[in-house]
Structures are given as C-alpha cells and as structure tokens.
C-alpha cells in the first residue's frame, strides 16, 4: 500500500514542477520593458503610422490610424495612448498646429479600429484610431505639410 502511494505522488510532483516551468517560460522574452511582475523581460512594442490623416485644413477634425506592433510571443492589450502634438514644421507653421487626442486609460484594453478587438496577438499588430485636429488659425505655410505626432502607448500582457 505504501509503495503504491509513493508511485502516485512522485508523478504528480513532477507534473507540478513542469507546469510551473511552462508558466514561467510563457512570460519570458527578449528585450526590455518596464516590468511590474515576477517574470518579465520583454521586447518593447512600436507605434508606427499606418494610415495618413489626409486633408487636414484649418479647423478640421479627422482620424489618423496608427499601428502598434507586439514583438513578444504572448498577447498584449493597449491600455492607453497619449495625446500627440506636432512640432514646428517650418518657420511659419508653428508647433501645436496639429494635435491628436489621447485615448483614455482602460485597464481592460482599448478597442482597435474595428471597434471589436482589444487583444494584439503574439507577434501581431493592432490598429488604433486617433482623433486629429488642425487649429482654425493654421497659416498658409501649413498647407500640404506632413505632421509627425509623437505618441506613447502603455501596454500589458493579456494571457
């Protein structure tokens, strides 16, 4: 009887240790991020412009779409995207002429542009829509210019 119990316990112990190892491995990747939990070194995501907000004119409110990539093997969600302000474009078209609104923090993740998806799959990317504005006082020198909007997003793993 005692011998039988030992045979049962040892495989269970082994399975438990192996399971813990799998859980650990799922949260380890290369790169660096500002980790807040036990197991993270992770590659930082990148924001890239995916679709231009075309045809901005004085007083216009348009949409710009950005893509956020997830270089990690595990899924992530985007919790917030900062406001953006375009810097000086030329000597006359001043900074702040074009801005984008922040996407407010959502612990459950921001909706992507399809208004249905929140999770970015491992090694995938997601597109997010931002409201972009040109001031009504934008001068003539702003015509036909391209404006870059520096953005920062916060992300967290979602598995």
């Amino acid at each position: 009887m005692g011998r039988k119990r030992k045979l049962v316990v040892i495989p269970l112990l082994a399975a438990g240790i192996a399971g813990a190892g799998i859980a650990w491995a799922a949260w380890t990747s290369t790169g660096s991020g500002s980790g807040t939990a036990q197991s993270t070194t992770s590659a930082n995501s990148v924001i890239a412009a995916s679709v231009f907000a075309a045809d901005l004119y004085p007083g216009a409110v348009k949409s710009v779409t950005v893509t956020i990539s997830n270089p990690n093997a595990y899924p992530v969600i985007v919790n917030s995207i900062s406001a953006g302000t375009a810097p000086l474009v030329n000597t006359s078209c001043v900074a702040d002429t074009v801005t984008s609104d922040a996407r407010a923090t959502d612990a459950t993740g921001l909706f992507q542009s399809d208004l249905a998806t929140k999770t970015i799959a491992g090694l995938g990317s997601g597109t997010y829509t931002l409201v972009t504005r040109m001031t009504a006082t934008a001068v003539d020198a702003c015509k036909s210019q391209t404006f870059s909007l520096p953005l920062t997003a916060t992300l967290s793993s979602n598995a």
């Binding site: 438990g16 807040t36 197991s39 993270t40 924001i47 231009f52 907000a53 404006f147 909007l149």
Partner: protein
C-alpha cells in the same frame, strides 16, 4: 511516510503551478502618427464681363477643394499686382464703378487663413466714350 506523501499531494493541489495571472507584464510603446495637411486648389475659368458702363461682373468655377470656405477677389491696374478683397462665398462678383484704364482681375480660394494660388488673370478696359466711361 504516508503522512508525508499525503502532505505533498495537498500542497500540490492547493498551490499548483504559477499562473499567467500572477505575471502580468506592462510596458510602453513609442512612435509617431502622421497627419497630412491638405492643399487648396484655386478656382478656375475666371471670366470678366462688362456690366452697365463702368462695372465688371466676374464669374468663376469652384475650387476642387471641398474645404474651400470662400473666394477672395484681387483687382489692380497693373498685371499681377492686386489689391485683395472682398471675400465672397459665391461664384460671382460685381465690381464697383471703375475708373478709366485697364483693370486686371483674379480670384483665389480661401479656407480660414489659407489662400490658394490665383486663378488665371483676366482684364477689362474702361474707356471714355463721349464723356462717359464705358467698359469694353
């Protein structure tokens, strides 16, 4: 020995392996979005027709830019040198009475502070016919 085995089993069941919920990673992403400002297309097809004796009626076709909010009239007595104004919202404008001489006209689209390039210039001559200014 039985007690030790049972204890290990209980610990495994209660403790279990580490779960992903225990290990949420957070980080930041940086980059840029891009926005593109529009251009402003000029009106086209400007024509100047004599109206009454010393006034001229200007007509033109709309700018191709849907964000056009108005049209600014340019007028002068030398080609390419204009005094600007007024801004109108329609596609026609009648000048006030003009002095004798050649008058040059153009029009440009506006969108807030923006101005398009000028439409092709047109001109009209006001001459003295029997003591009366007459547009020809």
């Amino acid at each position: 020995m039985r007690r030790i085995g049972a204890l290990l089993l209980v610990l495994l069941v209660l403790g279990g392996p580490a779960t992903p919920a225990d290990a949420r990673w957070s980080g930041t992403a940086t980059g840029t979005g891009t926005a593109q400002a529009a251009s402003l297309a000029p009106p086209t097809g400007l024509v100047a027709n004599c109206l009454l004796t010393t006034t001229v009626k200007l007509d033109w076709s709309a700018s191709a830019s849907p964000w056009t909010t108005g049209y600014e009239i340019g007028r002068g007595t030398a080609s390419g040198v204009y005094t600007w104004g007024p801004v109108v919202t329609g596609l026609t404008y009648t000048t006030p009475a003009l002095a004798l001489g050649t008058h040059y006209f153009t029009v440009r689209a506006t969108s807030g502070p923006w101005r398009s390039t000028n439409a092709a210039e047109v001109s009209r001559l006001i001459v003295n016919v029997l003591g009366i200014g007459t547009c020809v």
